[in-house]
């Protein structure tokens, strides 16, 4: 087993994968990465068929070393990253050798960055997932000085790849479909909701994100409503009519009425909107939502087809002669051809 040593944690770091689906009836929500697309991007870059578990870094990263050569993918919210002081391109893979110091610094945009080793984090799993679910006491915040087990990189010398950035780190338009309780709101309230530009509030965590606006969005049916199943993406109105978008670690049932559900494709945009960013909901019909629905396996194949060889500017390479310069080409659609 190889190890990834976290010398110093600067942000809030947890191990995350795609979580534990299938336990709603037992009161356990899926959990997993806040920006699931970032894990799919890491999998595509690393040539993995399933996203390996990685480190979700909220706010800032940390300083790392490895015990064996391993490729890493850096995805999600872009952060300033260096390997022995050489700047590293975000949304790309890089080979890290023992003795080299990987520093992942402050966010440049967004909220959650991801560091995914090619062999995946090999920390203990529970119910088929290694994802930390802090609200129920599963896993923990990674602390400075911890030596974390990782799986061996099956192909450390596979050419480095990069992905063009998928802009989702500055807020923007999020598509919302009707949910089981949309009809509990008056047409005028729904109309006002879709006419409002919200500010991502300061309240937000892995359970939910607050959308701020001067207006309130209440339902006349909120009182006495039976608790119902809730899930990530649901736009829940508190008693005062303030909207929260439920996220990865939300509870499984709730009594507040929900005006609609953000499409899974746009949840990364909400997760990555830093406080103060503008978010504007746009209504989509059920028919549109069905047409837009994409299984994650398919999304992974699509992302893999967009991977390109990472070409470095020779001027920034100090030890040019140590590089093997002709091996870095792949078609970028390896997953599709396999």
């Amino acid at each position: 087993m190889s190890a990834l040593t976290l010398h110093r944690a600067d942000g809030l770091l947890t191990v995350q994968d795609l979580g534990r689906p299938g336990h709603l009836a037992e009161g356990l929500s899926r959990g997993g990465a806040m920006d699931r697309r970032a894990l799919l991007e890491a999998a595509a870059l690393l040539g993995a068929r399933q996203p390996p578990a990685g480190i979700e870094m909220a706010g800032a990263g940390g300083t790392f070393t490895v015990s064996a050569p391993t490729r890493i993918a850096l995805t999600g919210a872009p952060m300033r990253a260096t390997l022995d002081q050489e700047p590293l391109r975000w949304n790309s893979t890089h080979l890290v050798n023992p003795g080299q110091r990987l520093r992942i610094g402050a966010l440049q945009a967004g909220v959650y960055g991801y560091l995914v080793p090619a062999g995946g984090m090999a920390t203990p799993d529970w119910l088929g997932s290694r994802a930390a679910h802090l609200t129920i006491g599963i896993g923990q915040l990674l602390s400075s000085g911890s030596e974390l087990p990782i799986g061996p990189d099956p192909e450390p010398h596979r050419p480095a790849l990069t992905l063009p950035p998928d802009p989702r780190f500055e807020g923007g338009v999020v598509r919302v479909m009707d949910g089981p309780q949309t009809a509990l709101f008056d047409a005028e309230v729904i109309e006002a909701f879709y006419a409002t530009e919200f500010t991502r509030g300061v309240r937000g965590n892995r359970q939910g994100v607050q959308l701020e606006a001067a207006r309130r969005f209440t339902s006349g049916h909120a009182k006495g409503l039976a608790s119902d199943l809730i899930g990530p993406g649901d736009v829940q109105m508190t008693g005062e009519g303030a909207p929260y978008v439920l996220m990865a670690e939300c509870q499984t049932v709730g009594g507040y009425p929900r005006l609609g559900t953000v499409l899974p494709a746009d949840l990364p945009r909400i997760a990555q909107a830093a406080p103060g960013m503008k978010l504007r909901p746009v209504h989509v019909t059920l028919k549109q939502a069905i047409a837009l629905h994409q299984p994650e396996a398919e999304e992974l194949r699509e992302i893999a087809a967009r991977c390109q060889p990472l070409v470095r500017d020779p001027a920034t390479i100090r030890d040019l002669l140590s590089y093997q310069l002709i091996g870095g080409i792949t078609r970028g659609d390896d997953l599709e051809r396999e």
Binding site: G27, L28, D228, L229, G231, V253, A289, H293
Partner: protein, 247 residues
Amino acid sequence: MAETVLTPELLPAGADGFVLRFALTPEPRAMAAARSLADRLEAAPPPGTVEIAPALVSVLLRFDPARTDRETLAAHLRTVAQEIAATEPRMPEPSRRWTIPVSFGNENGPQLSDVATKLGMGEDAAIREICASELRVLTIGFAPGQPYIGLLPDAWHLPRLSELTPTVPPGAVVVAVRQIVLFGSASATGWRQIGRAAFRTFMPERREPMPLRGGDAIRFAPASAAEIDALSGEGDRMGGARLEVLR
């Protein structure tokens, strides 16, 4: 009182899910209907089913759009739900029964006397009524493994408190609106605490971390505070709970 027929609604929940809802409010008949529907779907999941999760008065079904036709599935779900609503829905027979020791009153149930007063009976009579009630796990949620249990007799339709109790301990047995919640971990609550169990509804390291299932029958067995303290010390955190498989 003549009751109208329940009218189940089939509602989209995302592009790959449906909610079948029997009522908006926690009506007993709708609870029985939701449990009946969940049992029927679990016994024979329609093709393409990914997950079935019942709440109090509704059932969520997630499906894989690649493995089923949405309209066919919707028609099937509507038919089953209407069949259940057309009969007088009753809680289906339980397949398992738990007997869970609870210490009622005093420091383990600081609000039992208040509850008994509201019901116009003595504390002992209130305990007897709880322990004699045919109770079921109505749904599980809020926290992993945490049950909503009911329904207690009509007189127990006590409103939630307007002031939250800042914290009740793990194992707290609390009541409101004819229901009982058995808290898995320390929690704030607007319900009244009448007892405490040593049984833990969520223990990650246990082979079955969330032992209760929706529909399980629940019987509370009165125990002394000393017995609950002793049971709390046992490693498996089952707190002396006994499980019988009925069918």
